[in-house]
Structures are given as C-alpha cells and as structure tokens.
C-alpha cells in the first residue's frame, strides 16, 4: 500500500546540511501495523512528516519516492497532496495539548477535518463528530464536543486527536509518539484503542516511538532507525528475539524491564549519537559499537537480509559476534570492547607526531584540524592528557577553539527532530 523508496530528507541550516533521513526504504501492507523506533534525532519523525509532505523550511525531501497506491507523493503538487492528507492518510502527534488549536472547540476541529474533504456528506458531519468521540470512548460526547481543548484531560485530548484522524476513514494512520506525553495507565488505554481500531476498521498504522515496549505491544513489524538510517527491519517477534544489529541488541539490553527477575547492571550504549552534519565515515554506529571491525570505519554496510524477512545494516551482525567473539567480553559495552578494534591508526600516528612538535606548531596543527581534538577526546584521552601536560596551551585550545562552522549545530539537530 505504501512504499517508501530511498527517501532522503535534509535540513539546510546555517551550519550545513543536516541529513536527517537518508536512503530510507520500507513498505507497508494494508491493515498492517508497523513500528518505527529510534532515539530523538534519529529521523523517525522526519520520515513520517516526509510521507505527508509536512516537512517545513529549511527541511526538504532531497531524493527518493513515496508511493502511496502507486502515486508518488513527492511528485504531487500542494493541492493534490492536501487532498490526500487527512483523507487517505491521517496523522496524530505527540503532545495532544499543543496539537489542538486552543481557541477552537474540539467538535469544530473534528468537523473541520471532514468539511475539508468531501468524503462525508455535509449534513452528516456534526452527528458523525459526536459518534467518533463516542467511538474513541470519550464519555458524554454529546456535551463535550462544545468544550475547548484545555477543558479536556491529556488522555481525552489524544482520543479527540484520534477521532479527528479517523474522521474521513483513512486507510493509513501515522501516529507520531502518540503516548509519550501521557501517563502509563493512560498510555495503555490509548494503545488498546489503537489496537482495537486496527482490528475493527482495518486501518493500517505506522507507530513512531522511542519506547520498545509500546512497539512490542502494538506492532507486527518494526523498523529500527539510527542517525537517519534504517539499521534493522523485520517482524517484531524476530527482532526482539534475535536482534542482529548491535544497536538494536544494545538498545534492548539497556532498558530496565519491569519484569526483570534480579538486579543486573544495565548494558549501556556508551557515547552519543553522531552529529548529522558531519557523521563519522563508514558505519554511523561505529564510534559506539562494541563489536566493530576495521571495515566499519571505512565502508558503510548495506541493509541486507539476515534471516527470514529480517534485514540489518551491519558488517558484523550479532550472529557472527556471538560465534566469533569471546562470550565473556560481549557484556562489555565500551566502544570496541568486544572486538578490541581501535579507530584507524592515523589518529595515533598524528598524536605521536604532535608530541615531537613545538608548542606553536602543535597549536597550528590543532587549529587546522578542528576534528582532531574531538577525536582525541573520545578515542585517546590518555594521549590527550599527555599532550596537555607537555603543552599547557593546548588546554586553552580545548576551551577557546573557534570553529565557526560547528556553531549551534546541536541546537539545530534537536530542533530538526
């Protein structure tokens, strides 16, 4: 029903092109529930927004196709796209309070979605609005259509959002973190509601979330994203049972589970997600990966089949990691711990060279290679300490270095998600 092929979306900021989504390919069948999981900034929301053409300036779809019932949504003009939005594909968002217009009545906002498309006869709209609210189990719906959003509780607002999304009987509902702003007991109710709607009405659902538990409860298939790319994809049971990408594997082990039997130290993923303006070469996960091999630093792995219906984007994969690496060290989560593979040798060589130079030359080298200090901080702290001991001015450099290009990058990254 929906085929996303090689989708790439970028944000063009003052600091450079933030490649929020790159080369993302997945498809969705009628009636299916697909989960897209990943951390903030991984591109999952941008993917969803791209489908509906809701990416705002300075963001732009830079490549790929989005085929919905054999029409390429990226090629449609704004009016054609508008007619699909809310009619064939509906979307609900994370924060139901800010997603509803505070100065308009809830009922009006639901009716408005129907008036915008001619799918529902005009005279049926008000009645259907009330029935929709009843259907999403808002008590006393007849009266509450006249309320404003601030008079609803968080859970009720999200129900109203869902009612609005379903008003034109869409074939696909995209739910972007629909329960993140809600309490767990309310979250459970909303998920039940979505599950029921999927079963009763056959609406396909794409659920975007960072919560693996939510995906496990609702979805049949899951796509895992990291740094703008799909790193793993497959049926939910299979992915949770035997994840093949080290990121998925680590993510599942870094979660405290409410049903854990005894206290064990969590397997954390060390480090931070990469800067999307200048990501590391090779596999994007290599700076944090315990299982990396030399190839990971230079070549980007393709998304390949790793089992029946399961794909992963990794040179190693967990099967091989389990088979070839020391089982005792597989619990060590530090970058490169399990494989012992350090970053390419150039850094060590450069550091060694630096020690032979005089202070002004050292500073000059560092000024010319702004990445160098950063690499040393993450990869060679001992060498860096030595360097600082030799040349106190380097410490100054650490705190006064001016690299205008990188300014505000992090803030923009956060905004773009």
């Amino acid at each position: 029903m929906l085929e996303v092929k090689h989708l790439s979306t970028s944000f063009f900021t003052d600091d450079g092109e933030v490649k929020a989504v790159r080369d993302v390919t997945f498809d969705l069948f009628p009636g299916e529930t697909l989960g897209i999981v990943g951390e903030s900034g991984c591109g999952k929301s941008v993917t969803a927004m791209s489908v509906l053409g809701l990416v705002q300036r300075p963001g732009k779809i830079v490549g790929g196709q989005i085929l919905f019932k054999d029409r390429d949504l990226t090629k449609l003009n704004s009016e054609e796209l508008r007619q699909i939005r809310g009619r064939d594909i509906a979307m609900i968002f994370q924060d139901p309070l800010s997603s509803l217009n505070p100065v308009l009545r809830v009922g009006f906002q639901i009716d408005e979605a129907m008036f915008a498309h001619d799918k529902i006869a005009k005279e049926d709209v008000p009645e259907r609005g009330v029935n929709l609210l009843k259907q999403v189990r808002v008590p006393d719906a007849q009266r509450r259509v006249k309320d404003y959003p601030h008079q609803f509780s968080g859970g009720m607002r999200q129900r109203a959002m869902i009612a609005m999304g379903l008003s034109n009987r869409p074939e696909l509902l995209i739910a972007d973190e629909p329960t993140t702003a809600l309490d767990v007991t309310v979250q459970a109710q909303i998920l039940e509601l979505l599950r029921d709607l999927n079963q009763e009405m056959g609406t396909s659902i794409i659920l975007i979330t960072h919560n693996l538990g939510v995906v496990a409860g609702l979805c049949k298939r899951v796509v895992v994203m990291y740094a703008g790319e799909i790193v793993e994809e497959g049926p939910v049971e299979q992915i949770f049972e035997s994840p093949q990408h080290p990121y998925t594997w680590s993510l599942l082990r870094s979660l405290p589970r409410v049903d854990e039997k005894r206290h064990e130290r969590l397997k954390s993923i060390e480090g931070l997600p990469p800067d999307l303006i200048a990501p590391p070469p090779g596999c994007k996960f290599n700076p944090r990966c315990p299982f990396r091999i030399e190839k990971c630093f230079s070549e980007d792995p393709p998304l390949e089949m790793v089992g029946t219906a399961q794909q992963a984007k990794c040179w190693v994969t967990m099967k091989r990691a389990y088979a070839e690496m020391n089982a005792a060290t597989i619990t060590d989560t530090r970058p490169g711990a399990a494989s012992g593979v350090r970053p390419p040798a150039e850094l060590l060589q450069v550091v060694a060279d630096l020690r032979t130079l005089e202070e002004p030359e050292v500073l000059e080298t560092l000024a010319e290679n702004p990445q160098l200090l950063e690499q040393m901080v993450s990869e060679e702290p001992a060498a860096l300490e030595q360097l600082v001991a030799d040349h106190p001015a380097v410490a100054e450099k650490l705190v006064t270095e001016e690299t205008a290009a990188a300014v505000d990058g992090a803030a923009e990254d956060e905004k773009s998600e």
Partner: protein, 341 residues
Amino acid sequence: MSSATLPASTPQAAPAGEPLLRVVDVKKHFNVGVAATVKAVDGVSFEVREGETLGLVGESGCGKSTLGRLVTQLIPVTSGEVVFNGVDLTKLRGERLRQQRKQLQIIFQDPYASLDPRMTIGDIIAEPLMNFGLLRGRQKDAKVQELLKVVGLNPYFNNRYPHEFSGGQRQRIGIARALALNPKLIVCDEPVSALDVSIQAQIINLLEDLQKEFHLTYIFIAHDLSVVRHISERVMVMYLGKVVEVSPSEELYLSQEHPYTKALLSAIPVPDPRIESQRRLIELQGEIPSPINPPSGCRFHTRCPIARAPGICADQEPPLEEKAPGRWAACHFSDEVRTKV
C-alpha cells in the same frame, strides 16, 4: 484514620540500622485562588536507612516531586517533620538550614533548566564549594576536575558553558555538582526521564557506581516503574498525595497489596512481544481526580475495580498498614487484590 496516627518510629521499619531520614506525616498544601488548596502531599511518612535506595513512583500530579522538594526543604512543609541525621529540618531556618544542605543534595529532572546558562560548568560545579567557603584557587580547580572525571566527563571542559553539552552530559554535570559537598543523601528527581534510552542506561549505571564508591543514600523519584524498580531496594507508590504501597522491589512485580499498584504494573509495556500478547490490562475508570478536591475516604475508590462505594472505601481512609513482612499498603481489601483484580 489517616496515616497521621502512624507511630513515628515504625512506619515501614527499615530492616537494619538507624534511619538516615525519617519523614513523619508531612503535608504540603498550595493555595490556588480563593479558598482552594491543592493537597499536593497529604500526610506522608517514611524512613530511609543509610546506604539504601528508596524508589518513589507515581503518575503526574501524585505529589512525588513535591515530596522530593520537601525532603530537601527547598519548599517549606505545611505540617509534619523531616528528621535528617537526627535533626528536624522543618524547625530550622536560614543559616542553620543552609549548613544542613551540605549533607543533602538533589539532582533535577531537566538537564537543560537546572544549570545556570550564564555560568561555566566549572563554576557550576564549584558553586556548592564556594557557598560554604570550602576550597579556593588551585585546590578548587583540582576538585572540579576530579569531579568531572568521576562523572565521566573530560576534566578540561570546565571552562565551557552548559549549552555546549548534550542532555546526558548535562545530567552528569548536575550529578557532579550534587557530589561536590560529599553529601550523605541525594534526592534524584526524575534524573533520567528527559534522556534518550541509550543515555538513560549510562546515567543509571553512573548513579549505581557512585553509590557504591561514595556510600550514598538515594531517594529516586520517577514515573517509570521499571527504572525505579531497577535501581531501588524498596519502592514507594504514591497516588494523589498519599502513599498507597511500600514494598521491597524484588517482591513488587510478583505480588501487589494495592489495586492501584496492580493496575500500574499491568499498564507498563514490556519490550517482549510474547509477554505483550498475553498482557491483561487492568483498565482504570475515569481520570485522576483533581487534587484540589480529592475523593473522600480512600482516594482511589473512584477508579478502583474492587472498591465498595458507597461503603467503607468512600467513607473511611485506609491506613498504611503492614500487610506482610516489609510490605505496607493503604487498602481496606488488600486480601482481595490478589484474587479479584
């Protein structure tokens, strides 16, 4: 009767050792508008013994963060006692209260809001030391660098500003600040809620390591029961300003004494599709009532699947009682929770 009559010495008596902190019947009412008060915390008693981690869990609006601020005396109590290290903090004012803060620190939820954007992180971490005139000059700088190392940050970052750091790094800075005075007790107010999953685990592990290294006592507040259960020895569940259940965390998942706890547990998704497919949700009726006008009797009775209302649940407030060794709950029908819910 309300929990006000709990004997001060016995609430959920800690298994061994003197309690480091004893909170007795603490209440906090906020005035909102004319003749309306929010009973954010309404009669809470508990003890924390040295070296343990007490988890505090509840949904938004249950008063858990307010309780954390009452324990640290960042806001004054309406009534009740907060006895820390044998001293009742609620009786202290000004300088004498300030001196107690050396022992009692807090880590905040929002790593973006809790660091002064105008100060370098070196100054932020050194601030507690400066406030008590403890270290100066090179010694102070050395201490700051040591603290940065302890929390896993580069010690040369001390001249940078908070906006240059990611959420997880900022939370580490907040932890370093809390550690600066070598406190005994740290209240962790939702320290990982604002962080991404992969960073969450880093911070939880860090907190656990620090606890071992510095013999810290934690009160760990969160809305995520999985996280609380993971890090705590005992878990305290709050609902609408009241404690409804206290239990050792190993036992909590296996059995519950209060229907709210049971419902809460049933709602938490587990990242395992097989378990999820068999999950049976205990759906609570309606919404959380307003803390301005909480329900009579047991506050949970309006949403409780086993409540007798009208009847004892609507009329009488259940006391927090020891239902089994080490397990406390405030419910008239604890026995039924296992069988009927």
